[in-house]
Amino acid sequence: MQSSVKRTNLIKIGILVVLAVLSIAGFLFYNIQGGFSYAFPKRVVRVLAMIITGVAIAYATVMFQTVTRNRILTPSVIGVDSMYEVVQTVIYFFLGSASIFVVSRYLNFGVSIIAMVLFALLLYRFLFRADKYPIYLLLLAGMVIGTLLGSFVTFLQVIIDPVEYLSLQNRLFASFTNVKTELLLIAAAILLVAFIWGALMMKDLDVMSLGRETAINLGVNYDKRVLHVLILSSILIATSTALVGPITFLGLIVANLSYQYLVTYKHSTLIIGASLISIIALVGGQFLVLHVFDLNTTISVIINFIGGLYFIYLLLKESRSAG
């Protein structure tokens, strides 16, 4: 029976791989007009950006949901995304869109990542005491601080120069259209390191889904691992946000689809599933938006729309199963 479950999961993952490859191929080659040599490299960069962010978000969300023992949270509750908006808004407000921090994409990328990760680390430093407070205290504090930062951002945006505001707005919506190739490489390198670190704790995560006490009983250094996962997921989210903008809501959808689709406790399988679904959603979604519906809206709007509907469905399902 065990091996048959394993085989079905392998087949299911195979289906996802095929769909992901189809989406990527469709996006790369469909209706490629004008100079192939001009359009193709641009498309490759966009696809790579989508794959990198999609995988980073899926990875971060699945791990985050295991350590918080909650399946309707995303790492954005910590307030990392809000910190991104703060950094961008503050730069535009005080330095203007002509400043070196806007013009140089490297500098912007670097400053954003560092600010987000530092923010998360500070929060953990003061509020993460798994033996003393429940992890919900940290999440709640992150949410409150995130809201506070959000209000601060809104305040600045209200009084900012309208022209600056327009170009700032571009930064605050997730977009895959103008990603710099070099940034992509840096992001890929950061993710690679993060994935290797994550792979080392994958098995411990399986045990941690049994709960803190059982995990400690089985020799897992639970509280330390939770901190590791929090740091790791902040790094992943910070990297993807700095690369394309805030899009963490996607994580919630793909993680839950993966739990439903691949019924297993193994994080290696769940994360692979979530990553593939994430790629299909982003690349396939973008393909549909561009070529089938012929729309010019950004994919993040659609993801937030579909994600919102799915979120409501999850809430209803949870409350039904709880009641």
Binding site: R69, D131, V207, S209, L210, E213, I216, L218, V220, Y265
Partner: protein
Amino acid sequence: MIEIKGLSKFFAKKPVVEDVSVTIQPRTITSFIGPNGAGKSTLLSMVSRLLDSDTGEVLLDSANVKGIKSQEFAKRVAILKQANHINVRLTIRELVAFGRYPYSKGRLTAEDEQKIDEAIEYMNLVDMQDKYLDELSGGQKQRAFISMVIAQDTEYILLDEPLNNLDMKHSVQIMKILRKLVDELGKTVIIVLHDINFASVYSDRIVALKDGRLVKDGPTNEIINSEALQEVYDMHIPVQEQDGCRICVYFNSHS
């Protein structure tokens, strides 16, 4: 041998366990008894390192447990708490397989598989080993978790109120299995019990706590008598002998 020396735990400056010293004899069942809020579970959590103690130490074969590596500790001491809520779908066998995690880190060897088979058989779960946990009754689930602890194959097994929510038949079944673990496999079992009669009938030694302090510690027959129990529970508990077992008949007692 587990030695508890001057162990204390404070929650918001209020002592929950205060200066408790007990030595756990190997190859025995030791029951922790006492009224609600006596600190039994807290004491057990500190012994098993789920909770840090504020003062005092726990020695496992003369070594302070705080200095032992997590993985090593998990091969020597197992703890099962009362509430085991998990939000993943697992079969009994998968759960029991987790018991081998300290040894194999998820890559099961032939020896691991054998230990898992034995543990499942020990708890009479062979027929339903491929059932999912959410399809089981409370008693079956409890047996599955105990089976995991058995697969962990530790010298010490610590259980926090394992009979909670179980009917009489399953309670007796589980206590008999614990007895077998001690008598046949040479394990040492520490168990927190609410039902004093199970403590009386099945344990070798009893440790009685009250308001976080140790009030009695000794062989079962020295504790199960009206005078000692009066001190622990603040009520008169008549004790009758029935087929060689001492039974406390407290149901109609006046305090």
